[in-house]
């Protein structure tokens, strides 16, 4: 289970269809029409190195004043986290985890959103 800081999150939408963008990296699924705005749909599972099925749910985030969509399996809910609940990420968790916390016996990794997006942006540039 993953957590994303709500300050980045704009909304959650269903993406019924998207257009594949050739000449991009594997992190980019494509682009879709969000009320007239063209928004990239990203698959971050490839960056985080986790397996997942495709789904229609996407979280729209604000990144540098632009909308970016993360394709996710589903949205579980919103929780409040106090600072002292956050534990440092275990070293094997990779570079994209800001911290972890335990809730109802389950481990939640908090995503380092900016880092993920910077990585993708960089990958697109150097591609």
């Amino acid at each position: 289970m993953w957590g994303i800081d709500l300050k980045y999150v704009r909304e959650v939408v269903r993406v019924k269809q998207y257009t594949i963008v050739p000449t991009t990296t594997e992190y980019v699924l494509g682009v879709f029409n969000l009320r007239g705005q063209i928004v990239p749909l990203l698959d971050i599972s490839k960056i985080l190195n986790v397996k997942r099925e495709s789904s229609e749910t996407a979280i729209i985030l604000n990144y540098n004043e632009e909308a970016v969509g993360f394709s996710v399996d589903n949205v579980v809910g919103v929780i409040s986290v106090s600072d002292n609940e956050m534990l440092p990420p275990p070293t094997e968790a990779g570079d994209y985890v800001k911290g972890v916390l335990r809730r109802d016996g389950e481990l939640i990794s908090i995503l380092d959103t900016e880092r993920v997006l910077e990585t993708i942006e960089q990958a697109e540039i150097t591609q």
């Binding site: 063209i38 540098n64 591609q127």
Partner: protein, 720 residues
């Protein structure tokens, strides 16, 4: 004052202040060139004055203080009490920088309290302390005063354009009206107060009154109440002119400069005329007048003594001669002023336009874009049914939408001037930085581009200019060794070519040696030596735009970002150079990148758009063959190379394509194979997200009638 001002006012203030700063940015280099230019000095004075006033009202004391001191300096220059030097102009530049800095501060924190202006204020004080003895006045005091009035009126901020129309007539009698500008203390007050104020004459007004008495005129207090119309200010001027023709106007409340602020639509005029019935006649001719009243005023009420009158009478003959002389001079000046007025009038009409927030303009623009899409969708639906009435209505609708679209596009056009005007100052900064002397010239600054295009063009343009000053223009001694004028030249020329603007930026410096560029590119490992060999000169010069390129001495680095920025606008960049003669960068930029006529093609099941500007034609593939390894196709007797577009994009391109789009790259025709050709359509270009901005071969995206996103290809960049 001092508490945080209202946000709304602050925004207004900032918007206006930025305009002032922009204008100042334009004016100061002009002043640097010609330090005697009174027109420029006056304009700078006026801008500083407005800035001071506006800032003062919002309690932005530091801005107000600094503008005030700068205004003082300019006033002294204007009144010839101080001779302007290069140091003064430099100081003014620094004032500008400081003001700019403070505006940013205000934007951020809503106050300018934290700004430190003590140092620059001190310098201004020092400059002000060196007051020079005045040179002999060129014209008589009176003529100066009259001209001052004309100038003030011409530059006055609240001038409605009607004033100018009235002014032509007023000029005949402006000598009489001039006092309205002088009286400052008038406000809307109760009747007795009005009398008290009206009859309290300043020295100049008193002179006027004495002159009038000498001519045998009598004083009247005229009270006019106008209908509440927006034309009120104009009516006021008409009234002044008409009454002025009868004799002399001594004073009015409110004064000419304050009249536009009054809400009572009532004015009190102290005038000297021959007869009351003449006045009554004239009153009938004043339009939109609600009530009129004229009452005789005894000279005692004005505080004028008999002996003053006789003294005045003696000098009247002299005065008359002087006045005649003066009028002659004024007429001469007026001819000059008229052209200035015409200019000002144009500007005032510009001011008369409505200010629209750029954001709402963008929203409007997007909405129209959407409307165009809806129109296509509607047309698609309607085409399935044969209903004549609807088809007619649809045709009208389509026409209206396209007119609306044109109009909105036009609204967004901004002349290049907006970018050009900041360049002289930038160049003078660069000259200092790199120790070179550079003049910059412009042509075609009236040519307009879409606001967004212009905005995105500014940065690469400024960067290029820096590179030219840095790497192309030689230092003065090197130039004179080469037999060139010591001062280098950068020339920017814009012309319109169809839907594109061609902007060339050229300088007369060292130039770029194509052979040296080739060698260096190979050395840096940017291109293989074999590729370079075959390259022509122009192609070789384009190697300088590869990321990481620079000559051994570091020259010509940074051109890659310029090329990228231009291409992001849908434009192209070409480079020409003759060593030691010229270096020329040619930008071809679309006037507006918002809508695009595109050819829609299909690859597999996915539609793609190709801008028709890059399409020569489309063909059905029948004559396919191959020469060696390369696939070719016959077209009009010529053998063209053919590439599978899907393959170029890196999508599975296995299928046997039936059609091809023929495009031109560097003068050579190339065929691109596609599965299907869907036809041409007007599409609204939407930017791809920044993350994808650099994806190869893509120029943007659009939304099709069915809501799907369709990518716009830039086929030329895909061709190997």
């Amino acid at each position: 004052m001092g508490e945080t001002p209202d946000k709304e006012y602050l925004e207004l203030f900032l918007e206006e202040a930025r305009d002032y700063i922009d204008s100042l940015n334009e004016l100061l280099p002009k002043l640097e060139k010609n330090m005697e230019n009174l027109e420029v000095i006056n304009e700078i004075f006026r801008l500083m004055h407005s800035l001071k006033g506006n800032a003062g009202m919002l309690g932005l004391e530091n801005i107000s203080k600094l503008a005030h001191k700068a205004e003082d300096l300019l006033a002294m220059v204007r009144d010839r009490r101080l001779k302007l030097t290069k140091e003064h102009v430099k100081l003014l530049f620094r004032v500008l920088d400081k003001l700019n800095e403070m505006l940013s501060l205000v934007e951020e924190k809503a106050t300018d309290k934290e700004a430190d202006i003590s140092e620059i204020l001190e310098e201004l004080e020092r400059a002000l302390a060196i007051e020079e003895k005045s040179e002999a006045p060129v014209s008589t005091e009176k003529a100066k005063e009259a001209l001052e009035f004309l100038r003030k009126l011409a530059l006055s901020e609240e001038k409605p354009k009607e004033v100018f129309e009235a002014l032509e007539n007023v000029s005949k009698s402006f000598d009489k009206v001039s006092e309205h500008e002088v009286s400052k203390e008038s406000k809307n007050v109760e009747d007795e107060d009005v009398d008290k104020e009206l009859f309290k004459l300043s020295d100049v007004e008193r002179e006027k009154a004495l002159d009038a008495l000498a001519r045998g005129l009598q004083f009247y207090k005229i009270t006019l109440k106008f209908k509440e119309t927006p034309m009120f200010v104009l009516r006021y001027f008409v009234a002044l002119q008409k009454i002025g023709e009868l004799g002399e106007i001594i004073k009015t409340i409110p004064s000419g400069s304050e009249v536009s602020q009054t809400k009572t639509y009532r004015v009190a005029i102290l005038a000297a005329v021959r007869k009351l019935d003449e006045l009554d006649e004239v009153a009938k001719e004043i339009p939109d007048l609600e009530s009129y009243d004229a009452r005789k005023v005894e000279i005692e009420a004005l505080g004028i003594r008999e002996d003053e009158i006789s003294r005045k009478a003696e000098s009247t003959t002299d005065k008359l001669a002087e006045i005649e002389n003066l009028l002659k001079k004024v007429e001469e000046k007026e001819a000059k002023t008229k052209s200035l007025l015409a200019e000002e009038q144009q500007q005032s009409q510009k001011l008369g336009e409505v200010r629209v927030n750029v954001k709402s303009l963008d929203t409007l623009f997007n909405l129209v874009g959407e409307l165009v899409l809806v129109k296509s969708r509607l047309a698609a639906i309607i085409s399935k049914y044969d209903i004549p009435n609807i088809k007619e209505t649809l045709a009208t609708f389509e026409r209206l939408v396209s007119e609306l679209q044109d109009e909105v596009m036009r609204m967004r056009l901004v002349p290049l001037q907006y970018v050009f005007r900041n360049i002289p100052r930038y160049v003078s900064k660069l000259s200092e930085k790199y120790g070179k002397e550079v003049d910059v010239y412009f042509e075609g600054s009236e040519i307009s581009l879409d606001r967004k295009v212009l905005e995105d063009l500014a940065e690469p343009l400024f960067k290029l200019i820096e590179i030219l000053v840095r790497d192309d223009i030689e230092k003065a001694e090197e130039r004179s060794r080469k037999g060139k004028p010591g001062v280098g030249t950068i020339r920017l020329v814009a012309t319109r070519e169809g839907n594109h603007v061609i902007l060339t930026v050229e300088s007369d410096g060292r130039g770029i040696d194509a052979e040296e560029v080739k060698k260096r590119a190979v050395e840096l490992g940017l291109v293989p030596a074999t590729t370079v060999e075959k390259m022509g000169k122009e192609e070789a010069l384009m190697l300088t735009t590869l990321p990481g390129f620079s000559l051994r001495n570091g020259a010509w680095s940074g051109l890659d970002s310029i090329k990228k920025a231009v291409e992001a606008l849908g434009g192209t960049l070409e480079i020409y150079s003759k060593v030691d003669v010229e270096t020329k960068f040619l930008f071809k930029i679309p006037v507006s990148m918002a809508t695009l006529r595109a050819l829609l093609v299909k690859l597999g099941t996915t539609p793609y758009a190709i801008p028709v500007t890059s399409v020569i034609t489309t063909i059905k593939l029948t004559d396919r063959g191959s020469v060696g390894q390369a696939d070719v196709v016959k077209y009009q007797g010529k053998i063209l190379p053919i590439y599978d577009l899907a393959y170029l994009l890196g999508i599975d391109g296995a299928s046997d394509k039936k059609y091809a789009v023929i495009v031109e790259k560097r003068g050579k025709l190339v065929a691109l194979a596609v599965d299907e050709i869907l036809g041409q359509e007007d599409i609204v270009v939407k930017p791809l997200s920044r993350i994808l901005a650099r994806a190869k071969g893509l120029a943007g995206a659009t939304i099709l009638g069915d809501g799907r996103v369709c990518l716009i290809l830039d086929p030329l960049s895909l061709i190997p």
